[in-house]
Amino acid sequence: MSAFIIPVFILFIFVYGLFKGVNTYQSFVKGAKAALKLTFDILPFIATILIAIHLFAASGLLDALAWLTRPVFDLLGIPHELTPFIILKPFSGSGSIALFEQIVAEHGPDSYITRVASVIAGSSETVFYISAIYFSKTKIRNLSYAIPVALFCVFLAAVLGALVVRLLM
């Protein structure tokens, strides 16, 4: 049933556009162009952050950090396979998407672990990354309580995600 949601949503946008006399072909191409420019702009960030993260993982430091925090995750009911992903998520959206793809490939696209990872990925953003770029055009460097609140909410998303997916599956 829920598999129909996205196709119906897309159909609605197209039909509404046609109804309003929009040249859907031209509009779509315009959006696609912006998408390509966006991808081009974020590619250096993706590559740079991935290098740092791959080095961090290859050096064994990520595993060490995951091992250190594992009791906390077990206690909260979060599958420990997701520890590196959850630790990485606040730093890098693209890096955590890469890890997410690894999780999907390893555990299967319909598994519990993949679904918890999907919920975490979908319900939290890259706190440190956006803290850097959101304020990039201003002189504001003091974000007050913004980052602690954001990190708390992001971590809560992981705890709730593990719980809600278990209840729904």
Partner: protein
Amino acid sequence: MSILFAIMVVASLVMMIITNPGGVLSTSLGAAASGVQLAITLAAIYIFWMGIIQIATDSGLIDALARFMRPVIRWLFGKQTDEVNGLLATNISANMIGAGNAATPAAIEAIEKMSTPEQKKATTPMIMLFVLSATSMQILPTTIIGILEKHGAENAAFVILPTLIVSTVTTLLGVFIVKWMGRKRRVKPNVQAQPVESPEQPEEEGGV
């Protein structure tokens, strides 16, 4: 992010020079290559979704959404200029359909428009926008569903409901914490001493 990047790279290099010096270059170049590959995957996802969003923009659907959201924006951010309101609506709606990267430019501009050139400290509406983006209230986690489908998921849409539940809870919590902190700031006596600007304007210094 800059400090963290430096710490991660230096610590990893020190560690790898001890344990596996031969792996440094191959790991780095492999990571860069997977970055390029990932960008191609993302380009495919963005081309499709941003094409759809453009149709929704040109048909006035996004504007309608912004009008529909006006009371919410007013409640969250207080009184802002029309221009800022439009940017906030764009940001929130783009985040809602999972196009976080499309939402980012609007947020950068909104924060710029909300600040004064010499301002050093974030105000409550800016923190609200930041926390809202961080908890990303999503109706459609499009990127994630795209990846799941690429890997042959039988029921990728399963994740929509739990994502919606979780992001609703964390977003509401984030909003209430920011509102509560904002009010605490507001009742501080030294702020009320100068009634000039909006009460959200924080005092210039004073620890924590």
